[in-house]
Symmetry: C2
Subunit: 225 residues, 2 copies
DNA sequence: AAATATATTTTGCTTAGTCTAAATTATATT
DNA sequence: AATATAATTTAGACTAAGCAAAATATATTT
């Protein structure tokens, strides 16, 4: 089928396309994968041959339907394995990325199916990212960065933007986790930092604007705007 | 660390050493891995450089202590993953080999440890093969081929020699599985075929000598010899 | 519009693993 | 002991993926 390397390129291209433009550049891919632009050009030719990307010299690349399908399948596997590692094996959410990076390349349709059943048809991974369904369809929810939420709103923490270890560790340390109900108690005008009240806790938590920007939340239906 | 390919060579060499001689040949490895002897020679040089095997031109190879350690670690992972696939995901024992062949190369000490805990510190895989412990020690049990058991003996089915799909399917079809108590009701003199009585079933099962040779059993303590 | 800077591709070389064909060494047979 | 056969290694070539340096295309300034 496709090699690990090809799969990694497709995933990188998919992710880059997600966060912005309709066509992406050679250098952006090289940065993402920490390779050189020259290597990327080589691979783009190959993926183009295989009709997985549409590519015109000097014009940037995008995914074809079949390339997109492959990329999504890998993301699906990545997120399912991450959830497995956290839910079943008891890993912390900042530990699972590298393992999932390997596990996502295991080839077996049936394995994915069984894993999906075993995990109870989950819709989100441990970081709150949506897991595409069997047909590669995402069912996202309408989340907003906490930084855009106004004072006295009640929200639910549904995900994070930054997936880095240090950010995730920060959240763990402050006992912030997906699913929690949060009340925005106060917002400082000068630095936009926030004071939060977490449901079920009696202490309040103070977070910077930078942290708030990286927390994704869902507004409660019965909340004040 | 070591590449997938290197790991596969080490595993192959380990298995070949298990089933016989103290030194094994280039061709035997090439057959096992379905490559050419020339490729094997190249790899042997490399593994020798890395002190994973001891190799003298034209004289055959064996594993060094560190090579053996690597090989056993892979076998451990292979068997743990096989058990996971069968026990947790509900695969049949004839379906899991190819997946385990991939999963055994996932690198993460911690993952193996967690998986081992999750499975409840198992000692045998779905085929009855022993799973080496954390230190690479096997704790085998004294099994015999069913073909060597005499009439009226009571035994427990603990494993199989042939791991091929067709043999495993044959066993499934006849509802033979690891752990079952078996009484050898009769042995035909002319073809050494056997009539078995499986505990908990009321029909008897007739098997060929060939099948009996590939079934590993443990004699019951309180059995007639 | 020309000059410069930046991005991209081409060229040529590297490593890992594989193969075929040829050469060499070991083993078996007369 | 001589020869034939089999096993093993060497030599040279191929593919996948990568990199550095050179060449070319595109973008930005002036």
């Amino acid at each position: 089928m496709n090699s690990f390397t090809e799969e990694n390129y497709l995933k990188a291209i998919y992710n880059l396309l997600e966060s912005g433009d309709r066509k992406i550049s050679t250098t952006s891919i090289s940065k993402r994968l920490t390779t050189t632009p020259a290597s990327v050009t080589d691979m783009l030719k190959k993926l183009s041959e295989k009709k997985l990307i549409s590519y015109e010299k000097y014009k940037g690349v995008s995914l074809t339907a079949s390339g997109k399908k492959v990329a999504i399948a890998i993301i699906r596997k990545h997120r399912l394995w991450e959830l497995f590692l956290v839910e079943k094996l008891g890993f912390k959410w900042d530990e699972v990325h590298d393992m999932a990076e390997q596990l996502e390349h295991i080839q077996s349709e049936k394995l994915v199916e069984k894993l999906y059943n075993y995990l109870g048809h989950p819709r989100f991974d441990p970081h709150g990212d949506p897991i595409p369904d069997e047909n590669g369809i995402f069912h996202p929810i309408e989340t907003l960065p906490l930084s855009g939420i106004s004072k006295n709103s009640k929200v639910t923490l549904t995900g994070v933007l930054d997936h880095g270890t240090s950010f995730l560790r920060y959240l763990s340390k402050n006992e912030l986790s997906i699913g929690q109900k949060i009340l925005v108690k106060d917002i400082q005008e000068f630095d936009k930092s926030m004071t939060l009240l977490i449901q079920g806790k009696n202490t309040s938590l103070h977070i910077s604007h930078d942290v708030a920007r990286n927390l994704l939340v869902l507004k409660d239906k019965n909340a004040k705007s």
